[in-house]
């Protein structure tokens, strides 16, 4: 672990000019992960040995004016794919949790990174698998708006740009990229590889590894020690090998998780809606017959597989963000915005510790997760939530479940702490209008009252006119970067006084949990007895009359 302040060169204030190309490059670096190389022959579930060579299709010869024309060509053969895909959350960004009734999805939620996609679609919808969503005029019913290539490109030459321009400073960040050879990409489509999913899922929160802590560009070609499943030296799994899909609906949503899968693998090939460990490994996977294997299977009743098998977060040399203070955003040096890079991560890259448009950051890597009871339900603090700020930090997504709930298990989480803009009078989170080439967007105008007012106006939500900064915490379930079994968390890391699980309610663990008075009494009895026999023995020696005749 390293603290964000402890890095050598802490005073390396990289004073990046805010209105110039130098900063733009920096933004580009922040937003795109290490250049992806195509990784061939990843294992995807189900399909193997393709029967079509896309380079032989007339429809894919081009020329294509834009991506949307490629989509049209795709759909000319894959006639049902558009209909299927439009039901997926990758398209709708809208999801109602059946367990909690909460309206979620990127279109609705507020996270404690870049806050909200709502009102910032021009930027955020870079990660929407469609073309051109920049405001509410986007047509969700037009199949030609689907972006097939971002998921199915196998050349690693395809990329996406923001759907609208921001202020000049932000707007130039993606310029200078090589134009995409659309016919070539279209002729080389295939099943999604890790780098396809990673385009967005590595970069959530605004950069490589920022958001999740268990998903970053190190998974493009991970060592076996980093990820036993995804490593080319291990299983070389594509994401879709576990995140199986049915009609383009991909399993394994974080919004509605299965904290304990009691069905296990099911009949061969039967489970298409689930990405749990148990769906391959069963719920009793440990070596048997073995006393320890027998005990470990029992552990799996109450402890998620991930808790032992992912010993640390961000192990691939890419750091993850653990703390963000929005209240310090908008500082200038000589009237210009700037960034500091005082954290050097494992792979040598320096990460921002301050940035005028965002505020202060802290990073971490190779650190133990925070453990919580979890039954699969998360209660989100949404834009509609009346916040009780008496207990801080306020959870953005409260992890539900406890020790008395048989469906709950102890799960590992990355906690993200953020001082987040909110409306302290109305006691609600706010939509912040960050992106856009207008006079309210925070990234350009740096007036948060104005940008929040603009954000709240989109849905005509009440805003008191006051912006405060609320300490919040979000919980990111850790489930990737599964280590080889020899690197799993050792028994003694929990079964010890200073346990990884210390402080969790409802646990009894030998070597950690003790009844204090019983221990004190027991040790006292033992020690006193030893003292007693020693004294008795000494007395026998001193009295010098060891002429016992008795029998024992």
């Amino acid at each position: 672990m390293r603290s964000s302040l402890g890095v050598a060169g802490a005073l390396f204030a990289v004073a990046l000019l805010f209105s110039g190309v130098s900063r733009a490059e920096d933004v580009a670096e922040q937003l795109s992960s290490a250049p992806a190389k195509p990784v061939a022959a990843q294992k995807s579930s189900g399909l193997k040995g393709g029967t079509a060579d896309h380079s032989k299709f007339e429809a894919l010869k081009g020329p294509f004016a834009d991506g949307s024309e490629v989509t049209k060509a795709c759909l000319s053969c894959h006639t049902e794919a558009g209909k299927h895909f439009m039901k997926s959350i990758h398209w709708t960004w809208d999801y109602t949790n059946p367990k909690t009734g909460q309206k979620l999805g990127k279109h609705n939620v507020i996270n404690n990174f870049c806050t909200n996609a709502r009102g910032n679609e021009g930027m955020c919808a870079q990660c929407h698998a469609g073309y051109g969503w920049k405001d509410d005029t986007f047509d969700f019913s037009n199949q030609n708006n689907i972006d097939c290539l971002v998921c199915h490109d196998t050349t690693a030459t395809y990329y996406r740009l923001p759907n609208s321009r921001g202020h000049d400073a932000c707007g130039v960040m993606f310029e200078g990229k090589k134009p995409i050879d659309l016919p070539k990409v279209a002729q080389h489509v295939g099943l999604p590889g890790r780098q396809n999913c990673g385009t967005c899922h590595y970069n959530g929160g605004g950069g490589d590894g920022v958001k999740h802590g268990d998903l970053d560009s190190s998974l493009n070609a991970p060592s076996k020690a980093l990820d036993v499943h995804m490593s080319p030296d291990g299983g070389n799994f594509a994401c879709t090998n576990c995140h199986v899909s049915d009609k383009h609906i991909v399993s394994g949503s974080r919004y509605d998780m299965i904290a304990k899968d009691e069905k296990g693998p099911g009949a061969p090939g039967s489970r298409r809606d689930i990405a749990t460990c148990e769906s391959c490994h069963s719920s009793k996977p440990h070596d048997k017959p073995s006393l320890i294997g027998f005990q470990l299977d029992t552990h799996a009743e109450r402890i998620a597989c991930q808790t032992c098998h992912i010993p640390e977060i961000a192990r691939g040399g890419v750091a993850t963000m653990v703390d963000w203070d929005w209240s310090t955003a908008g500082k200038f040096i000589d009237g210009k915005g700037y960034a500091l890079e005082e954290y050097k991560q494992g792979d040598g890259k320096e990460r921002h510790t301050y940035w005028t448009i965002k505020g202060d950051f802290k990073w971490n890597e190779n650190f133990a997760p925070t453990y919580k009871w979890f039954d699969g339900r998360m209660m989100y603090t949404t834009i509609d939530t009346k916040i009780d700020d008496s207990e801080q930090p306020v959870p953005i997504n409260a992890v539900m479940g406890g020790p008395n709930d048989p469906k709950a298990r102890i799960w590992p989480f990355k906690e993200m702490h953020t001082r987040l803009p909110w409306d302290p009078k109305n006691k609600s989170l706010v939509y912040n209008h960050l992106w856009g080439k207008d006079d309210t967007a925070f990234w350009g105008n740096f007036d948060m009252v104005k940008s929040v007012a603009a954000g709240m106006k989109i849905e005509n939500r009440p805003f008191s006119g006051e912006v405060g900064f609320l300490p919040t915490v979000s919980n990111w379930p850790i489930t990737h970067m599964v280590a080889p079994k020899t690197d799993a968390v050792k028994c003694g890391e929990c079964h010890t006084e200073k346990s990884r699980l210390a402080g969790l309610p409802g646990i009894y663990m030998p070597a950690h949990s003790t009844v204090r008075w019983l221990d004190l009494l027991g040790y006292a009895m033992f020690v006193t007895t030893i003292g007693g026999v020693v004294l008795h023995g000494l007395a026998r020696v001193v009295m010098g009359k060891k002429k016992t005749h008795g029998e024992v």
Binding site: L291, I292, F294, Q295, D297, T298, E301, R302, P403, N404, D405, P406, K490, C491, G492, H495, T496, E497, G506, Y508, P510, A511, H512, S513, T514, V515, L518, D519, L521, G522, Y523, M525, F526, T529, I530, V533, H536, G537, A539, R540, M543, K545, K546, K547, T548, H549, G550, E551, V552
Partner: protein, 231 residues
């Protein structure tokens, strides 16, 4: 005087003879149990967290297998006790108790004779049999019964969710373990109180001790159980 003593009957003249008082099985039981108890105590207190330098999984493995071995040993030994009638050795004899306690508290220091003599039928003094009875009907069963329940936790874990099941089992097991190690301290110390410091240990190894026999007993042993008589 003479008449009076004659009237009371002349006590038979006793002769000290070396006799096997601990049979081969009894010695095997004693020493294998001793080893297992030491192993269980060390591994058990490692599991408990008292001895943190032992790897937890190693301690659990050793403790579990040693426990299973001890349970098997106890099953055989219980059988042995009842088929040989040796269980009677543990019957309490309250009347002799104060004298024995007085001896260990004071008499042993002043060189007083032990108030109890081993006989063929009764190998243990009053305090000893009471202690062993406590060991065999209290400490032992508390340990193995709670231990079996503890060991089979995987089978009942799902029913115990949200209950005090495991903490209570662990409490009983730990409490009994403290009694056990305390018993061991006293027991080991008491072995030093024989004719010499190592006399009792040697007896438990060889099985032979010299005890006073009546002519009738000698005759019986020579006639029927000559193997039990030593040189």
């Amino acid at each position: 005087m003479t008449d009076l003593s004659m009237a009371a009957g002349t006590p038979p003249v006793k002769t000290k003879r070396s006799v096997m008082i601990y049979s081969r099985y009894e010695r095997f039981w004693h020493w294998s149990q001793a080893i297992l108890i030491f192993v269980l105590a060390l591994s058990g207190f490692a599991v408990h967290g008292t001895l943190p330098f032992v790897k937890f999984s190693t301690a659990v493995t050793i403790h579990s297998w040693a426990a299973i071995a001890l349970i098997v040993l106890w099953i055989f030994t219980t059988f042995w006790h009842f088929t040989t009638g040796q269980w009677k050795q543990y019957l309490p004899q309250i009347s002799g108790l104060p004298a024995v306690i007085r001896f260990y508290a004071w008499g042993i220091l002043t060189g007083a004779p032990h108030p109890y003599s081993k006989t063929l039928r009764r190998k243990q003094n009053a305090l000893q049999s009471l202690a062993y009875l406590f060991f065999m009907v209290m400490i032992g069963p508390a340990l193995w019964s709670s231990g079996i329940v503890y060991l089979t936790y995987p089978w009942w874990a799902s029913w115990a969710i949200g209950t005090l099941g495991l903490p209570i089992v662990a409490f009983v097991h730990t409490a009994a373990a403290f009694l056990m190690i305390t018993f061991v301290v006293i027991h080991v110390y008491m072995t030093t109180t024989g004719k010499t410091v190592t006399h009792y240990v040697r007896t438990m190894i060889t099985g032979y001790d010299s005890i006073e026999l009546t002519p009738a007993e000698i005759a019986y042993l020579e006639e029927e159980r000559s193997g039990l008589l030593g040189k």
